[in-house]
Amino acid sequence: MKTLRFHYHMELAFSEPVHSHVYTLKCLPKTTGTQRIETCAYRISPESSVREGADSFGNRMLYGKAEEAHSLFQVDVNGTAVTDITASCEEQEATDCSVYRYQTPLTRPGERIGELLARCRERTGELPPADRLRVYTEAVHESLRYEKGVTDIGTSAEDALALGRGVCQDYSHILLSLCRADRIPARYVVGMLLGEGESHAWVEVCDGGRWQGFDPTNNVPVEDGHIKISHGRDYRDCSINRGVFTGQARQRQTILVEVTPV
């Protein structure tokens, strides 16, 4: 069990002022079986009327519209979370995990993923799912070299694996693809990691009615240093920021996450 203080900062810098900027943000962690959100406050600038809601996966959403011209859009979330993965047995959510059994356009396996799965199967044989997952996680970790800027949000698992390089999103998509090809329900998770950095992504698999996290980027099972923000079938269900605006500007997104033990 850990008590963590988190600070999430996202900013969009526009090359020219934009207006009528409509946005949906999925950046608020929620209380689950393995984490309790004790405090959580947000600030969005420019200020506008913001609504709260939840999507069909149960993720918290903030949405609104910044009407006036602005060149900088900023979101800050501050709070504390108590994480405890040993509590996961009591988790009530998601008894129906069917939707996570099926591939999406981003996770659909091709030849490379097929080969990787075949190689893993030589080692896993008839092991139970949790053990197979450790093999898959390690295999994904070893198949990719961490490198920013070589893939983007539209890169599929198969393409990332063929490239051999990528970021946490690519590691996660490949692991999802392997799990689903093996008929293990698996979902994409966005969250924050102890320390300083960007937002992070990992995978949760449903094993015996209980969701367990695996982090293929770091080749570790998810522990108390991970704070979960959202989950879905793939990156698209969890994108932290969706927006449309009026104006001919280029935008640059920066995300800074800081998680410290209390």
Binding site: V22, Y23, T24, S49, R51, G53, D55, S56, F57, M61, Y63, K65, D96, S98, V99, R101, Y102, G232, R233, D237, R242, V244
Partner: protein, 438 residues
């Protein structure tokens, strides 16, 4: 029997052209508006026969509505093993953002267009259930109006159910689920294939015709903004744009014809959307196979209307049948619509067959196979002579507190004598559908 009206064919078609009864087609990336050719010989359905269709259609749409509610809710039909899970989740019509969202009054299938054909032996078969944004009711509506003007005597002689009440039924359907506010028909704009219909319905029902630009979301409600900038709350939207383009914040992010956050307003129950997003899961060609089973499962009744005999290569037994009887079947790609992705096995070359069978074995879930129904031909007038053509019937079922079947329908025919494909996007023509009142 010679109907006086058929002697007025030229006048009728001139009037239809003048009223702008057109259908848009994209060909080679260019938008062209074509007149939708009208044939004055009506399809005539006797009173008793229509009563039978009506019973079957009501039952079918009730079951489809139950299915959609179940799929986005408890998923009992999947748990009970009646519909295999993958047929739901792999369907392009299944939209995860709709899970757990209950529309006003629990209605998903507000306006359904059920395509039927009549076999040579007189029995009817359902070919497709169109539940997303079925179009076509405006054509027989305006054709009837013009036919009555061109040949009033015809309607003195024959006892035909008046079909000009469609606007009233549609208005009732929209008002029934309205959450408080104006009623809007949302069109992608004048370059849409069915723009004539959108504007005609707006005129006839008194609803506002709007594009996405005239609708805005503010503080969890939807507003119509008129030319002066005045805002009016909207309670019901009969949207004639597909789910993917409805809201860039939930569905396709690239959509510029949708309304950002309209789905969030809907999710909170502050506006009704007709038809409900996500109901494409029930008009999937793969799911079609299961509709008679749905009737039994949800209503505990035997289906009145039958499907065209259909095989699902997904099931081994059916795959075997399909391979053995390949040449007698028509194969349909479940992801396609509008007459695309339909192939008749007996028209393939040997090489095409081989490729197709390989594809079928690789992706069995992607196709359904059907017996080719020998349609009952209907006469059309060609160069003032009666000649037989293939035709289908799109019946419209509107859902209020219970389903209502419109006493008319769109009869489409193929102008090519060798073709079975009647879709207007493939150049077919249409007829009025008369339901006799005595």
């Amino acid at each position: 029997m010679e109907i006086e009206l058929t002697r007025r064919a030229e006048t009728v078609n001139e009037l239809l052209a003048r009223y702008g009864v057109k259908f848009g087609i994209y060909k080679d990336n260019e938008f062209k508006e074509q007149l939708f050719p009208f044939d004055t010989i009506p399809r005539i359905i006797k009173k008793e026969e229509f009563a039978y269709l009506e019973k079957g259609l009501k039952q079918r749409v009730m079951a489809l509505n139950c299915f959609i509610r179940d799929i986005y809710g408890e998923k009992k039909i999947v748990r009970d093993g009646v519909v295999p899970e993958e047929f739901v989740y792999i369907s392009s019509g299944y939209l995860a953002p709709c899970d757990g969202v209950v529309p006003p009054k629990g209605i998903y299938t507000h306006i359904a267009g059920i395509d039927l054909v009549q076999g040579k032996d007189g029995s009817w078969y359902v070919l497709e259930d169109n539940l997303r944004v079925p179009s076509g009711a405006s054509y027989p509506m305006i054709a009837r109006e013009i036919c009555r003007k061109s040949s009033p005597d015809t309607f003195e002689t024959y006892h035909v159910e008046d079909n000009r009440d469609y606007a009233k039924l549609l208005r009732w359907t929209m008002d029934y689920v309205n959450t408080g506010g104006h009623t809007v028909i949302l069109t992608p704009g004048r370059y849409n294939a069915a723009y004539f219909e959108h504007s005609y319905f707006a005129e006839k029902t008194g609803a506002h015709l709007a594009t996405g630009r005239e609708l805005v979301v503010e503080d969890d409600y939807l507003y119509f903004v008129d030319y002066s900038g005045k805002r009016e709350k909207v309670g019901a939207v009969y949207r004639r744009i597909s789910d993917e383009y409805l809201d860039p914040m939930t569905f396709n992010e690239e959509s510029v014809i949708g309304i950002p956050h309209i789905y969030d307003v809907y999710r909170k129950g502050h506006v009704a959307l007709l038809n409900a997003p996500g109901n494409g899961v029930a008009d999937d060609k793969g799911i079609y196979y299961f509709v008679p089973k749905m009737v039994r499962y949800y209503l505990g009744e035997e289906p009145v209307l039958q499907n065209a005999p259909t095989y699902l290569p997904y099931y081994e037994e059916d795959m075997r049948y399909v391979l053995e009887h390949f040449d007698e079947l028509v194969l349909k790609d479940v992801a396609e619509a509008g007459g695309y992705g339909v192939v008749f096995a007996d028209r393939m070359t040997a090489a095409q067959k081989e490729d197709f069978i390989a594809l079928l074995k690789r992706e069995p879930r992607r196709f359904i196979a059907q017996e080719v129904i020998d349609f009952m031909d209907i006469d059309i007038l060609e160069n003032a002579r009666r000649t037989p053509r293939k035709a289908d019937l799109r019946a419209f079922v509107l859902m209020v507190d219970e389903p209502i079947v419109w006493k008319s329908g769109l009869t489409r025919f193929s102008r090519d004598p060798d073709s079975f494909i009647v879709n207007s996007s493939q150049g077919g023509g249409f007829k009025d559908t008369w339901v006799l009142s005595q």
